[in-house]
């Protein structure tokens, strides 16, 4: 399991310099790390779509943003994804925790856990899923893809990949 500090460092080394989002247990330590680091900004957002708005503004002002959220937040921010990120071609990396993976979770996570990949397929937002061996590769690839194609991209993060 990768330390959250090292995961954060990888994102920062790659060039991401603005972080916002809404917590999930899986990224609890990661958010703490980002909040405590003096060299980057983490903005606690009240909702996932507000985080997307802040990230969009930050991008237009020169930052390369990351939005952190639980997959439940994808439902909350669907309109922001379709009528802000996609039509303005605003790059943003979404790190989305995958609750309800393979049906093993609390009831409220099961529906989104089953459909979260299909949901992003439906609105044509590319996505990949972290495993213990592809973390650096995916983070580096994500930066290249979002900045070259001017598009959002989601990386799903299941429990047990970072501490």
């Amino acid at each position: 399991m990768l330390k959250s500090e090292d995961f954060a460092q990888e994102l920062i080394n790659t060039g991401y310099d603005f972080f916002t989002g809404v917590p999930c247990t899986i990224i609890g330590n990661l958010i703490t790390t980002l909040t405590e680091r003096p060299d980057v900004t983490y903005i606690p957002a009240v909702r996932e779509d507000a985080a997307i708005g802040v990230a969009g503004g930050a991008y237009m002002a020169g930052k390369i943003p990351v939005v952190l959220m639980q997959n439940s937040g994808l439902g909350q921010c669907l309109n922001a994804l379709t009528s802000l990120n996609l039509i303005y071609k605003l790059p943003c990396l979404f790190i989305v925790t995958w609750r309800g993976f393979e049906g093993k979770d609390a009831p409220e996570h099961l529906v989104m856990g089953k459909i979260c990949e299909k949901l992003l397929d439906t609105i044509s937002i590319p996505h990949h899923t972290f495993n213990p061996d592809n973390i650096k590769v995916l983070i580096n690839m994500s930066f290249k893809l979002i900045t070259e194609n001017n598009e959002p991209l989601a990386l799903f993060l299941k429990e047990g990949i970072i501490d």
Binding site: R47, G53, A58, M60, T82, I87
Partner: protein, 185 residues
């Protein structure tokens, strides 16, 4: 005072400030009255103009950022007020045109005739909060917030009675709006 008069009054006082316009009539009127590269027209994502403006303000502290918001938009994303208040960006000016209706869809009532939006901004710890109802006061207060540190919140009560006329739509594509706005940074 109607939309057009309020937006005209505000836009005449601006030089290089960045402006993020809420969707619907606010973007369309601002585009029609004074299109400029420093204007970002948010054509979708209702509610998020204040969040986009916050992101710009935090990332460009050297520039004044004006959010031209509406009552319907603000009520949809009321959580943006405490986010801004907690972060205290000095360069953010939040101007809310409040006609107490969703004007873009035919004047269905919002709830801002009952809930006083300036009180929510005060609770959210904006550094300066004012409500104006006349063009003269709007002009004076806009000058004041442009010259002083924020975050500032200006509630502009306007009429829901608009003259019947055709109003254009923003003709730039979303990508063009983004690229122009970024070039104005």
């Amino acid at each position: 005072m109607n939309y057009r008069e309020a937006i005209t009054t505000i836009m005449e006082l601006l030089n290089g400030q960045l402006v993020v316009c809420a969707n619907g009539l606010i973007s369309r009127e601002t585009f029609t009255i004074r299109d400029r590269t420093e204007n970002f027209y948010m054509i979708g994502s209702m509610g998020l103009a204040s969040s986009i403006g916050l992101g710009v303000a935090l990332s460009k502290p050297s520039r004044k950022v004006i959010v031209l918001d509406g009552d319907g938009n603000l009520l949809m994303n009321l959580g943006s007020l405490p986010m801004t208040g907690s972060l205290q960006p000095k360069n953010l000016l939040h101007i809310v045109l409040d006609n107490e209706v969703y004007a873009s869809t035919g004047n269905q009532p919002t709830i801002s005739n009952i809930i006083e939006l300036e009180d929510t901004a005060k609770s959210a710890k904006y550094a300066y909060v004012k409500k104006v109802t006349t063009e003269k006061d709007l002009k004076r207060e806009t000058v004041h917030i442009l010259e002083n540190d924020g975050p500032s919140f200006l509630l502009v009560k306007i009429s829901d009675k608009e003259e019947q006329r055709e109003i254009g739509r923003v003709t730039h594509s979303p990508e063009e709006i983004k690229e122009r706005f970024m070039s104005a940074m």
